[in-house]
């Protein structure tokens, strides 16, 4: 089954709540649904915030917003890297993929 990138959108799982605490040396996040605590870097934290604020966005749209929020060029965080991150987050039940 092959899907093009723009066919997948992302949202938080039903009943999910994410709590963030920003510190100088990292962002600590609590996944209230699973009861797990994670240490995140800025790109992972911002990605989750974007998905939480705007559920259903396609990968490419998230990528655009992410580069904007972090004020970094495309070379610093290519789309492929974001895809890897999103599927990693999906495996941890932090986000879920929806067909668009």
């Amino acid at each position: 089954m092959v899907t093009t990138k723009s066919e997948i959108g992302w949202r938080l799982p039903a009943g999910q709540r994410l709590l963030f605490e920003d510190f100088d040396d990292g962002i600590v996040m609590f996944d209230a649904l699973v009861g797990a605590t994670h240490l995140l870097n800025a790109s992972a934290a911002e990605t989750l915030a974007i998905v939480e604020d705007a559920p259903g966005l396609a990968t490419t749209d998230i990528h655009r917003r992410l580069l904007d929020r972090l004020s970094i060029p495309e070379a610093a965080l290519p789309l492929s890297e974001l895809e890897v991150l999103l599927w990693r987050l999906e495996d941890l039940n932090l986000v879920c993929a929806v067909a668009q």
């Binding site: 510190f23 040396d25 600590v28 609590f30 009861g35 605590t37 240490l39």
Partner: protein, 306 residues
């Protein structure tokens, strides 16, 4: 009335009949056992604690009974019974007291989720509490015991009990379990301190218990505000060095070493966050007690100036 005001016979009779019950804030514990030597050892270590009536509500009721030994030799082992169950394999009879101490720790850690329970020693000076988390090689128990002989208040050597609503730590003052070389180190550092019976060949080596100084017991249940979290690292002969720790790093270390962080869930997350935000975190490397004390004195002095 204090445990120490009982005669040896009274203590033994109580324990063998309806139980020796005492207040160990924040809980009340009742111990029932026919073992006379256990009553005597407890009377020594808990002499300053308030007695409870055997009929009062006890948070934990523990029975220590003789059981048949594995080599079929009758009555050479002791068993720890709580709520009609035996959570552990039996211990050699002579180790009844260490078994009681470890057993009570285990029971406490499993049922007191109204608090966040850090695995740490806690001491206080001048209204400022220091949390000293446990990890291999920390020497936290020896540190806490020695500090309490130099004017610090001893809150606990094992449990940093954090009230979920704030950043206060609540005492749970119990005899500090010293192991192997630490026993001699303590004797040398504080010759007047009371150290109880020596128990060789326990699962953790040779163990003896440091009795909590009367002054600390008299401070009772009063909570204390956490000023700093200091991760101690003992290395014989090393010179002392104190380094600041990032808050996210401190967060994960604290949460990882807590007894019940995962059970308490979101409120635990909030409590640890508040703790690391409102206090400073350090790693303290030390090779001798005096230098460690000086460094910790310094930390408290600094927090007073803020």
């Amino acid at each position: 009335m204090r445990v120490g005001s009982l005669s040896r016979d009274d203590a033994q009779t109580r324990m063998a009949a309806n139980g020796l019950a005492l207040h160990i804030p924040p809980i009340t514990v009742r111990v029932r056992s026919p073992l006379r030597f256990l009553a005597e050892q407890m009377r020594d270590l808990y002499c300053d604690y308030e007695l409870a009536d055997a009929g009062d509500f006890a948070d934990v009721d523990i029975r220590m009974v003789r059981v048949r030994g594995i080599r079929n030799f009758p009555h050479t082992e002791v068993q720890f019974i709580v709520d009609g169950t035996t959570p552990f394999d039996p211990f050699p009879l002579a180790q009844a007291l260490p078994m009681f101490e470890w057993g009570l720790n285990w029971v406490f850690a499993h049922r007191m989720h109204r608090y966040l329970l850090l695995h740490a020693a806690v001491v206080e000076r001048g209204e400022r509490a220091l949390v000293l988390p446990a990890w291999p090689g920390s020497g936290k128990s020896t540190l806490a015991a020695s500090l309490s002989c130099r004017g610090w208040r001893y809150l606990s050597d094992e449990f940093g009990i954090i009230a979920l609503e704030g950043v206060n730590v609540v005492p749970f003052a119990r005899p500090a379990a010293l192991k192997n070389e630490s026993i001699d180190v303590m004797r040398e550092f504080a010759p007047d301190a009371f150290i109880g019976t020596l128990y060789p060949e326990t699962r953790k080596g040779t163990v003896a218990h440091f009795r909590v100084p009367t002054q600390s017991i008299l401070r009772g249940r009063a909570p204390a505000r956490v000023a700093a979290i200091v991760f101690p690292q003992f290395n014989a002969g090393a010179s002392v060095s104190l380094s600041a720790l990032g808050k996210a790093t401190a967060f994960l270390k604290l949460a990882g070493n807590a007894f019940n962080y995962e059970v308490v869930g979101e409120r635990g997350f909030r409590a640890v966050s508040a703790l690391v935000r409102k206090s400073d975190s350090y790693v303290l490397r030390y090779g001798d007690l005096a230098s460690a004390h000086a460094a910790l004195d310094d930390i408290v002095r600094r927090t007073h100036m803020q």
